[in-house]
């Protein structure tokens, strides 16, 4: 798959599997998905003020029989910690795509603390973590996560690693 085509393929995959609520705190790594959701009359595109709102919204969507996805940057994982007691305790299907900072080639020292803690924090709150390191990994990882979340009722994060999306230039 061409390097630049995976974001669009991920959007198509999510839509093909019935995801109709896209909630997010904007991040450059999710630009294509956010723009696609805004242009799609058949979905709800929901900008959040903080990522934990999205955890609760995903659970509410499930109560109503819809599928949702939370798009966030690695720093936002830290804002979700206690709210993940809702998805874990309630056994809500939970799918999040996390664009990573604070790892491969990071140039902003502020990003490391949370970026390096993301996997441990998610796992500590019962979220299964898949890592996409290369363009060819992304669609298989998201596809696997969709099955794990919506068919098996698990809480799953796909990390879009900094090696995949590129370190932000300063």
């Amino acid at each position: 798959m061409a390097e630049e085509s995976w974001p669009g393929a991920v959007y198509d995959l999510l839509r093909a599997h019935g995801v109709t609520q896209f909630c997010y705190v904007p991040d450059a790594g999710h630009k294509v998905l956010i723009d696609r959701s805004l242009a799609d009359p058949d979905v709800h595109s929901v900008p959040l003020t903080t990522e934990e709102e999205g955890v609760a919204m995903v659970a509410g969507a499930d109560l109503g029989g819809q599928r949702a996805v939370l798009l966030m940057q690695s720093s936002g994982v830290g804002n979700c910690i206690n709210m993940l007691s809702l998805t874990q305790g309630g056994r809500f299907p939970f799918l999040t795509l996390v664009s990573m900072r604070g790892e491969f080639g990071e140039g902003n020292p502020w990003q490391f603390a949370m970026g390096q803690a993301v996997e441990r924090v998610l796992k500590a709150m019962g979220v299964i973590v898949l890592r996409a390191e290369q363009p060819a990994d992304v669609v298989p990882c998201v596809s696997a996560a969709i099955t794990m979340a919506f068919q098996s009722g698990q809480q799953v994060a796909v990390l879009l690693t900094q090696r995949l999306i590129g370190a932000k230039k300063f």
Partner: protein, 204 residues
């Protein structure tokens, strides 16, 4: 000794209503709604009010979740009316959710904040609203098209009408005195059981 003073801008009168009467009086027909209730008092009192209806998802934790769960539910079920009832402390924890919800403007969502001005479950400390923070002004500033404050019995009829008729996205601030919520429902709220029974009743 450190003391917190009431804001100089505090402008609402002292609360006089008793939540044990005011909440059932406001929500006359709970069977009309899919409901999410925040921890802890509102979850207990809606559980009692609805006789543990499966159309109620009651939270015993995840403080700050109730309004956004209501949004996800309201967007997923546009033909049903969705009611969120939650306390001032729970709402304040994720007060930005009001901005997020107003941008979506789901016409089938009503949020009732049962505002006792205190953190009733943790030692009855003053909450921000008890010291004069105005959640109704925040909701209006976020863009809620309908905002109504119930300070006394005099404002209750309009509140009842708004809840009954649902004229678009609505925020109702129900100001109540300190004091216990009705608690004769379930002793515990097990989250995955709450989820399963809610979904089974709604989705089959």
């Amino acid at each position: 000794m450190a003391r917190l003073s009431k804001l100089q801008t505090a402008s609402l009168p002292d609360a006089v209503l008793d939540r044990r009467q005011a909440v059932p009086a406001l929500i006359e027909r709970p069977g009309d709604f899919l409901m999410v209730a925040g921890l802890a008092g509102t979850a207990w009192e809606l559980s009692a009010l609805t006789h543990e209806s499966p159309s109620l998802f009651g939270l015993g934790g995840a403080m700050g979740a109730a309004p956004m769960m209501g949004l996800g539910l309201a967007l997923a079920q546009p033909k049903r009316r969705v009611l969120v009832a939650t306390g001032d402390g729970e709402l304040l924890m994720n007060v930005g959710a009001l901005a997020t919800i107003a941008l979506q403007n789901p016409p089938n969502l009503t949020i009732i904040c049962v505002d006792n001005g205190h953190y009733g479950e943790t030692g009855n400390q003053d909450s921000h609203t008890g010291l004069g923070v105005r959640l109704d002004v925040i909701a209006a500033g976020c863009g809620f098209p309908v905002v109504h404050v119930i300070n006394t019995e005099a404002e209750m009829a309009e509140g009842r009408r708004l809840v009954r008729e649902g004229g678009g996205l609505t925020f109702i601030l129900l100001r109540v005195k300190e004091g216990p919520a009705t608690h004769d429902g379930k002793k515990n709220l097990v989250p995955h059981i709450e989820r399963d029974r809610f979904r089974a009743a709604l989705l089959g």
